[in-house]
Symmetry: C2
Subunit: 146 residues, 2 copies
DNA sequence: GTTATGGGTTCCAAATAGGAACTTACTGAT
DNA sequence: ATCAGTAAGTTCCTATTTGGAACCCATAAC
């Protein structure tokens, strides 16, 4: 299997990995969700090399998670924003944060949290089935080959 | 930032990336959720090199997502199973599958799906707040630096 | 004794990542 | 007019990871 063709794989897990399986990409998305818009903003926050940052942003644009739009001309400068596809990744990011917080221990307090826009309180996510409302966990569901 | 220290980072997104940010690891977890138990089972299914598979399994064991137990002695042979931490990754995997299916198009039908153990029907996941039941999307929540 | 099975390790080439300097196109200050 | 600064990259070179194949070991089966 070639890494570069992973985004064409029929398996959604493989296509998801073409996004989150690249070094740095998840952190770039974190910054985007936190409101970072510009190339140097990502670079300063993450300490990623400019070279890789340019590549990752290009790939995220190609995959449709981010888009680049000019915020000024002369000199031409662009900003990077999440597309609807990128924003739809929000719940996945939330679940990743929740899972890592609960399952990969750290002695330092987390420098980010997810808050409700309604009341500003930290959210406590649970995945349920849309139709029945049943919580979906390893105990109530299975991945199956079709 | 050193890649090898990512699992010690105070940010849960960084710690999550230490799991899903390695090449192959998400696919290894997919196979584990599908029921694969043995080294050669993973290797046959994925076409990963034995070298990398051994490394990834070691890392997943070290991070606490999988554990290795003997299923026979003479000759000693082990199988790999998800730990509670690994099984807790189930809802994240489910959300990743759902997001990729909806947002990263493929012309071929997906070779896996997630079904309910109760009625066998394909699940339709939605993330809600445990206390209020409010759906959690980009429109109702934000990641914040603390 | 030879072949097969399961679970690895070793070796080397190829691809990817990291670090630093360089480039382009301006703006604003001296 | 020159110099420093800003924003967004690109280039070059080295270090680390990955990919591919072969090799190793213990045992069982033919």
């Amino acid at each position: 299997m070639k890494w570069s063709d992973l985004d064409q794989d029929p398996c959604p897990v493989a296509r998801a990995m073409s996004v989150v399986g690249d070094r740095w990409t998840l952190l770039i998305l974190r910054e985007a969700f936190l409101g970072t818009l510009r190339f140097d903003g990502f670079q300063d926050r993450l300490g990623i090399t400019r070279h890789l940052l340019a590549e990752r942003l290009k790939k995220l644009e190609a995959l449709g998670l981010m888009h680049r739009t000019p915020y000024q001309e002369r000199p031409l400068r662009h900003e990077y924003r999440l597309t609807p596809t990128g924003r739809a990744f929000g719940p996945v990011m939330l679940l990743l944060v929740d899972w890592a917080t609960e399952n990969l221990p750290s002695d330092l307090p987390p420098p980010v949290r997810v808050v409700s826009l309604e009341d500003g309180r930290e959210v406590d996510p649970v995945v349920v089935d849309r139709a029945t409302g049943t919580p979906l966990t390893y105990e109530t569901m299975r991945l199956r080959r079709t």
